[in-house]
């Protein structure tokens, strides 16, 4: 079958063969190679745990930002109702920034989730193959001559080795993603530490600096739009009990 898979796919195949060649030591006994497989499986489990930890960290950050969005929205309304438009604007700027961060966090958490699932599925396959290898090893030890056993077992070892390379690749990709997320999480944590998403009514002496940064990070037009919308909601002379009218239609 000449040219099968073309250049694109053969590159990877060649690389995996190289990895396998390096891993295969003819002097290794069957039991040793099986124990080695189990050892590597443990490393995979540790890798998965690391991905899960990173994901949880991001999810906690999501929760905190979500709370901030709700709080800042409420504060903006209260400030506006009290006639303090500057404070309302400051709250909305922070809210917008929190929402932007939230959006990118959502995307990253789902990407990490995706990586975790692939890694877990690949690990499951590896575990099953190692178990199949163990069974085969016992059969081979009991029934075959040394020369025959060599052929039988090296085929089986190729199957396990290939899955091992695959789980290694899945792990590498998950770790790369995790690394990117870590940088992101630190950036958001810095904003949190600077009080960016904090209670806007309790701003301390550092607020000027934060405000200046916020102006660069958020778009004025979006804040203006939301402020106008909020004003209209608060200012509209609604008949009857305010805020109940829209909700009442569906009942």
């Amino acid at each position: 079958m000449p040219g099968i898979g073309g250049r694109f796919s053969t590159v990877i195949k060649a690389k995996i063969s190289k990895l396998l060649d390096r891993a295969e030591d003819p002097g290794e006994t069957l039991d040793y190679s099986y124990n080695k497989q189990l050892e590597l499986l443990q490393n995979v489990k540790k890798g998965i745990a690391e991905v899960v930890t990173s994901k949880k960290r991001l999810q906690m950050q999501q929760d905190r930002l979500q709370q901030s969005v709700v709080k800042l929205d409420t504060q903006a309304r209260q400030a506006l109702a009290a006639g303090n438009e500057d404070l309302a604007r400051a709250a909305l700027e922070r809210k917008q920034l929190a929402q932007n961060e939230l959006q990118s966090l959502d995307q990253q958490v789902s990407e990490l989730q995706d990586q975790q699932e692939k890694l877990t599925s690949s690990e499951q396959k590896l575990r099953t193959k190692i178990e199949a290898f163990r069974t085969k090893k016992e059969v081979v030890k009991a029934q075959y001559s040394a020369a025959e056993a060599q052929v039988q077992i090296s085929e089986a070892a190729t199957g396990v080795g290939e899955q091992m390379a695959d789980v290694g690749l899945a792990m590498q990709r998950a770790m790369d993603k995790t690394e990117q997320m870590r940088a992101r999480a630190s950036a958001v944590e810095e904003l949190e530490a600077a009080g960016t998403f904090e209670d806007v009514t309790a701003l301390g002496p550092g607020e000027d600096d934060i405000d200046r940064q916020l102006k660069q990070l958020t778009s004025d037009s979006q804040v203006d739009t939301e402020l106008a919308k909020m004003k209209a909601e608060l200012g509209s002379p609604s008949s009857g009990s305010a805020g109940q009218i829209e909700g009442g239609e569906s009942s």
Binding site: G6, I16, T158
Partner: protein, 92 residues
């Protein structure tokens, strides 16, 4: 023929699919060389789709090696480019 999609699994593919697989593989390489993002995405997605549609998934306990190993489905154009030049997906 046994084909592996990296980070996904192994499939047993009938021989009559191989010609089409080769065409799509070449289309993918051409797109990578031209750094054509859209063409790469569609050619590679079609290639993977062919394997999934015509192939029979191998059981998890299968110990057979693959004749062909495809890169992961979420491969980016940049990563695909490195297949030919840089370190590639698996470090040497």
């Amino acid at each position: 023929m046994i084909v592996r999609i990296s980070t996904e699994g192994q499939y047993d593919l009938p021989d009559d699919v191989i010609d089409r697989l080769n065409e799509l593989d070449n289309a993918t390489v051409t797109a990578v060389e031209a750094a054509d993002e859209a063409a790469f995405a569609s050619a590679y997605a079609e290639l993977l789709g062919l394997v999934r549609a015509r192939g029979t998934p191998l059981g998890d306990d299968a110990l057979a090696g693959s004749e062909l190993i495809l890169p992961p489905p979420d491969l980016t154009l940049a990563e695909a480019g490195e297949q030919f030049t840089g370190e590639g997906l698996l470090p040497d």
